[in-house]
Chain length 147, copies 2
């Protein structure tokens, strides 16, 4: 007995929509880069370090060691750094190289795909720097208005 035909219809389209969402490349990209440390690592390997406020951050991509990254991204835990680097390596965005020096060291570097992504993120950063002030301002007026 079809007590609720409209509801049934909606449930169906919801299932389809969820399936669509799961396969959506934009969605996956957002999931990929919205991790707390992903953008930071990409920025560090792309040589626009967050600790130089003055420069315009157009450095060459370079390779960095695990401990070097750990010091640069001062707030990151070892677990999260390892985890994030692994997932980035898995996706072919960074490459990992073990160097058999006296104490063994590991270096990480952006791949071509990673460099491409890093450039896109730089565009995102540009938008943020030019427009986020407006957003913050709007937020403030909205909050005071709601008093």
């Amino acid at each position: 007995m079809a007590t609720t035909t409209a509801a049934r219809q909606r449930a169906q389209s919801k299932v389809e929509y969820d399936a669509f969402l799961a396969a959506c490349p934009s969605r996956e990209l957002l999931n990929r880069i919205s991790g707390k440390w992903v953008a930071l690592i990409l920025a560090a390997l792309g040589s626009d370090g967050p600790h130089r406020p003055g420069d315009d951050c157009a450095g060459e991509p370079r390779s960095m060691r695990y401990s070097e990254l750990s010091r640069m991204l001062a707030g990151v835990s070892q677990k999260m750094l390892t985890q994030t680097l692994r997932s980035l390596e898995r996706d072919g965005l960074v490459s990992r190289a073990v160097v058999p020096t006296v104490p063994i060291t590991v270096t990480y570097e952006l791949t071509d795909l990673g460099i491409s992504l890093h450039r896109m993120i730089r565009g995102l950063k540009t938008w943020a720097e030019t427009h986020m002030d407006d957003v913050i301002a709007n937020r403030a007026t909205y909050d005071t208005r709601a008093d």
Copy 2:
């Protein structure tokens, strides 16, 4: 007694780094757009609906009603739709207008700032569509290699 001087040094830089992160505009932008429904709502109001696979999605921004959005984004719960719309309105990215028709209706529309953000997200979407396949492929090879 300074048992661990290096550790103390790291703790200090961690605090500074965390403070830096909290104020970073790029970080805030990522937090803003990485919400599950944010990009979908922006896309819907910007008229590149996710359900038209063929077109190149260069439509005009248009205003939509709450229920219209709710049907288009079939998977969204009413709570999340309201919550996300509110936060977008708070940030000045969409505008809300109550229309006193027979049953009261509410329409939402992109502001100029919202349109600007939407254009940037479209660039992100372009990157995703051209490169995410590679990422998925890399992921697959990595996983099989790790067997």
